[in-house]
């Protein structure tokens, strides 16, 4: 790997790191981060495939309320470097990603604690109506999140090509790598469980089983299933007596909105 590539990898890592806290443009998702690493390392295709595989695993990793997801940014960046430069298989990349996601979570907890310091600094700037100062405190927190992914990525990028890391990875016994690949097939259920728990309303669980049974016994693809699910949702809401009263209210609200626009 040349110096230019190391710089670009570090940059992509910083963008992914900032994306992980912002949760805005989704640059921290494996699908994006792995693809970008693949792009700068000259192996786009491997990056995309790894990103897709890792994305399935990370489907339910989300920040809800104060809860924190495993860190997809660090996991994606590091495993993409190791798979592409360290010549590891996709399966091994996935296996590496999991402990790294846990480590990344620890790092972001660390940064989110340090940022409390900037919060108090911002309070001081507010006393003087110092707008610039508050903005700087805000940006400092963001940059720290970028750095926490960029630095490990830079270090790994510099050593990944050397035989030391490769040998260490190849020394992992077969039973471990095969076992990890097997569990990779069903570990995604943890993500599903998180998503379901969040949406769960007991009364709506039949729709979950409906989706399960339709997918189990037919060959529909995801788009077909999505349309079916959307129809189910519309039927349910149209037929639900609970909404019949509020539907009138909505109609009234719409009228008043139109009037407002006319003014």
């Amino acid at each position: 790997m040349n110096a230019m590539q190391i710089v670009l990898v570090t940059l992509v890592a910083a963008i992914a790191g900032m994306g992980s806290v912002l949760d805005e443009r989704q640059t921290h998702r494996p699908l994006i981060a792995c693809t970008l690493i693949g792009l700068v390392l000259g192996d786009l295709k491997t990056g995309i495939i790894l990103g897709g595989t890792l994305e399935m695993l990370a489907l339910g990793w989300m920040n809800v309320g104060a809860a924190m997801a495993p860190d997809a940014a660090l996991a994606s960046v590091i495993s993409a470097i190791l798979v592409i430069v360290g010549k590891q298989s996709i399966g091994e990349g996935i296996a590496i990603a999991i402990p790294i996601a846990a480590a990344g979570q620890v790092l972001t907890i660390f940064v989110r604690t340090i940022t409390v310091f900037f919060q108090h600094k911002a309070d001081k700037f507010a006393e003087d109506a110092n707008f610039r100062g508050i903005e700087m405190c805000h940006i400092a927190g963001l940059l720290l999140q970028g750095i926490r992914v960029a630095v490990p990525a830079c270090v790994v990028a510099m050593v990944a090509g050397t035989s030391a890391v490769t040998n260490a990875l190849n020394a992992i016994p077969d039973v471990i790598t095969r076992g990890l690949q097997i569990s990779g097939g069903f570990i995604v259920v943890v993500g599903y469980a998180m998503v379901i728990n969040m949406m769960e309303a007991k009364a709506l669980m039949p729709f979950f089983f409906l989706g399960f049974v339709v997918a189990s016994f037919t060959g529909f693809n995801l788009i077909g299933l999505g349309i079916l699910g959307a129809c189910a949702a519309i039927f349910f809401i149209q037929l639900n007596p609970k909404y019949h009263k509020s539907m009138n209210q909505v109609a009234v609200a719409n009228v008043s909105e139109d009037e407002l626009e006319g003014l």
Partner: protein, 285 residues
């Protein structure tokens, strides 16, 4: 509406945000979570998003100080729907700057009152449905090596993000405090419930489609009358009952554990252990 007419009537002395201010607030709001911390979470991001409005509306230093402090209070919601809260808050600040009797408590009250319910709408719609569905779609293309996978995901999720932010901010700003009343209306509730139904349906199909557990453990092996060898494995018995039964049960087990506040990473490590031991003992393949 009376307010709007009054505002239109007395253009003189009325402080109002420019289009440029609104665009600036919208751009700043995309960094809402930048300085997320455990003490006040998104408070700095909220304050920084409000700065163009504070600069425009308040000229006296003590007013600016008070406004900055007001918006350094605790704030946390789903980031994209947060724009609607910013819009409402800007509208209230504007009315206040123009002399309306709005006190600190009512501004904070509206912020806190909106952030919870809106997070309740935003989390299942965006984190629970839009992102997993788009990500699953993108991943299924990406696994085959197609660049379309990441592009579909990135384009789709950012389009929905941008529209939510921009129209949320505009709607919040235009409607001001009216939005609070709209929360009781059925529209948001319908949207949330519809999204949950779609999400659960898709999750159900994913559990069956995109998990693989294979238990090749042999139960019996015999040669039938036609001279063919028939092997019965645990998996073939399970498949004849209900394909995908094991992933389904595993999903429920995970849901139970997560509800008991078991750390997700611990569950993932446990599943890895199951995979490794299962392979070692020849139960899983």
């Amino acid at each position: 509406m009376d307010n709007a007419q009054r505002l239109a009537g007395e253009v003189v002395n009325e402080k109002q945000l420019t289009k440029q201010d609104i665009r600036s607030i919208n751009f700043r709001s995309t960094f809402l979570l930048g300085s997320f911390n455990f003490e006040r979470m998104q408070s700095m991001g909220f304050c920084v998003s409000m700065i163009p409005a504070i600069k425009r509306l308040y000229t006296k230093k003590e007013d600016q100080v008070a406004a900055l402090k007001r918006h350094l209070e605790f704030f946390n919601t789903q980031p994209w729907v947060g724009s609607a809260v910013i819009g409402v808050t800007v509208a209230m600040e504007q009315e206040r700057a123009n002399g309306a009797p709005i006190d600190d408590a009512s501004i904070s009250g509206v912020k806190v009152g909106l952030m919870g319910p809106l997070a309740g709408v935003g989390d299942p719609i965006f984190w629970g449905t839009a992102r997993p569905v788009l990500a699953a779609l993108g991943a299924s293309l990406a696994i085959a090596g197609s660049i379309l996978g990441p592009l579909v995901f990135f384009g789709g999720i950012n389009l929905s993000r941008f529209l939510t932010r921009w129209y949320g901010l505009k709607y919040g700003y235009e409607k001001g405090t009216e939005i609070v009343k709209d929360m009781d209306g059925g529209r948001l509730q319908k949207l949330t419930q519809g999204a949950s139904i779609l999400g659960l349906f898709v999750m159900g199909s994913l559990v069956s489609k995109w998990t693989s557990i294979n238990v090749p453990y042999e139960l019996s092996r015999y040669t039938n009358t036609a001279g063919q060898e028939v092997v019965t494995t645990v998996q073939s018995v399970l498949d004849s009952l209900l394909p995908g039964l094991l992933p389904l049960l595993l999903t429920f087990a995970c849901m139970k554990l997560l509800k008991k506040k078991v750390n997700a990473m611990h569950i993932i490590f446990a599943l890895f252990a199951i995979g490794i031991l299962g392979f070692k003992w020849g139960i899983l393949a």
